[in-house]
């Protein structure tokens, strides 16, 4: 049992160790202005965490991320189902959705800045815009793939429209929405950093900006490393959520 576990996980940890080693060696053999070794990054991270600076910025970013993401979910999911249920609405709205989904949203940030100025709301809007489209898109695709027979069953048993949503549309579509949620997590993280870079500077984005402007490479590396790890953690969370909701699918 234990042997098996070691054998399975060994390549993973070995690869991580090799990665850290390369980072350490590369960092020690180049100028500190370009790159700092792993050990220096860790020391800087430790300093940031213990000074309380990091926790404060992290909470700031989390608030932005969660607000934007929850709004995206709260609007994207019902809207997606409505679009699937009302074909005329879908045909009318779809071109705009496609246009916005295809637009590099970073390009919209100056426009949002001039419209809404600095503050919390425009940043939430950026996170929202980055994350809402995969949720809508996957929800529509999911809700449209409901077999007509299931709707017939509901009608045959005299389901109300509300019960049809609660008992059929929502449970059927949730796994698809969760695929959208998983895709949206990565995009929301990009949106969060972009908003913190280009709008009023706060959170982890600000930490990176300030460190970068002060040529504090260790600070940049520490912050980027943490953001990357948060991203990985959120993606795995997304996959777990997706699996949980899809357990009835073969």
């Amino acid at each position: 049992m234990l042997n098996n576990a070691i054998r399975r996980h060994a390549p993973f940890w070995l690869s991580i160790l090799v990665g850290i080693a390369i980072w350490e060696i590369a960092g020690r053999s180049t100028s500190q202005a370009f790159m700092v070794p792993f050990s220096t990054t860790m020391l800087e991270l430790f300093r940031l965490v213990t000074s309380g600076e990091f926790i404060r910025q992290f909470l700031d970013s989390s608030q932005l991320f969660l607000t934007g993401f929850c709004v995206a979910l709260a609007i994207g999911m019902p809207l997606g189902m409505l679009l699937a249920r009302v074909p005329a609405l879908r045909i009318g709205v779809e071109p705009y959705l496609m246009l916005l989904y295809a637009t590099p949203l970073v390009a919209l940030i100056p426009f949002i800045l001039s419209m809404m100025g600095f503050g919390f709301a425009p940043k939430v809007l950026v996170v929202f815009l980055f994350s809402v489209f995969p949720v809508i898109y996957n929800t529509v695709e999911g809700a449209r793939s409901i077999k007509p027979e299931m709707i017939e069953v509901a009608r045959s048993f005299r389901s109300s429209e509300w019960a049809l949503w609660r008992d059929v549309m929502v449970p059927y579509t949730l796994p698809y929405t969760m695929t959208g949620v998983r895709q949206a997590i990565g995009r929301a993280l990009v949106g969060m950093i972009a908003a913190e870079f280009f709008l009023s500077s706060t959170g982890l984005g600000q930490l990176i900006m300030t460190a970068s402007q002060n040529f504090d490479t260790a600070g940049v590396f520490a912050s980027v490393l943490v953001i990357a790890l948060i991203g990985v953690g959120l993606m795995r969370l997304g996959t777990a959520i997706e699996k949980h909701f899809a357990r009835w699918r073969q």
Binding site: K147, V153, S156, F157, R158, D167, P171, W248
Partner: protein, 274 residues
């Protein structure tokens, strides 16, 4: 005397009594395509009527009209004294591809119809196990559809329909999607359940044998647009069971329905060739 009059205290159909379902001059179009016209027949409160016909003759469409899932263009459908335009209470349908909700367990699927009918929680908790047991799914209450064979899934579909205690059961080729052995088992299960709780039943099928085994009357749909070509009285003794299959009269009736249908099939081929 070959008819059922000889058996006493056995559930028998009552085709002679006031019918429960009345279909009058029913017609249906899909755009320019006329599916059927002038369909007339009745079903008694304790009668099984089987509908057979060549593929594409509109059997399933007819059944969906009777359930109120599809609108009809001409004529009327009465269940008791209610006109069918939308699905009405007291009528339950069993679907060809089972129509189970894959995210619901057996118990939750069986409870679905009751919940939609507004039954109380206590009522649902009391009734669901009865019908799960009736169809032989005791022990599988918490199984999901994907964990079960087709036969078990259709047992669940049947329990869901029975649970609302309908006076009319509409069966849309319910055993067409399961293998031959399972199909036979389910046919006799259905007969056993019907004898326990007789209802009016319309059973649409491709299988002549199934139609003759289950039906008190067999309706043969014909032509394009289709209409009722012949209604064949199936005077087999009640209760129907495995022994029914061995009766000379069963073979005779099966041949008769077969001959009627084959004549249809040849005519249909002829139409296509021209």
């Amino acid at each position: 005397m070959t008819a059922s009059a000889a058996t006493i205290a056995q559930p028998t159909h009552d085709a002679g009594a006031e019918p429960l379902i009345r279909v009058h001059g029913l017609g249906k179009h899909y755009g320019a395509l006329e599916v059927f016209r002038n369909i007339d027949f009745d079903v008694g409160a304790r009668e099984i009527v089987a509908i057979v016909g060549p593929s594409g003759c509109g059997k399933t469409t007819l059944l969906r009209c009777i359930d109120g899932l599809l609108p009809h263009d001409v004529g009327e459908i009465l269940v008791g004294d209610q006109r069918v335009i939308d699905p009405i209470p007291g009528v339950a349908m069993v679907f060809q591809h089972f129509g189970l909700f894959p995210w619901k367990t057996v118990s939750e699927n069986v409870a679905y119809g009751l919940r939609m009918a507004g039954a109380s929680k206590a009522d649902i908790a009391r009734k669901v196990p009865i019908f799960v047991k009736m169809v032989g799914l005791a022990g599988f209450e918490n199984a999901f559809p994907y964990q079960m064979s087709g036969g078990m899934q259709q047992r669940c579909g049947l329990a869901r329909a029975l649970a609302v205690e309908p006076s009319v059961l509409l069966m849309d080729e319910p055993f067409a999607a399961v293998d031959a052995q399972t199909r036979e088992i389910l046919q006799f299960e259905l007969l056993r359940i019907w004898q326990e709780r007789p209802t009016a039943m319309i059973f649409v099928t491709h299988s002549i044998e199934e139609a003759v085994l289950l039906g008190h009357r067999v309706i043969v749909l014909k032509g394009r647009p289709s209409g009722v070509h012949e209604i064949i009285e199936i005077d087999l003794p009640e209760p129907r069971n495995r022994d029914t299959l061995r009766l000379a009269r069963f073979a005779e009736l099966r041949e008769r329905v077969w001959a009627t249908l084959m004549r249809e099939a040849r005519e249909a081929e002829f139409v296509l060739e021209r």
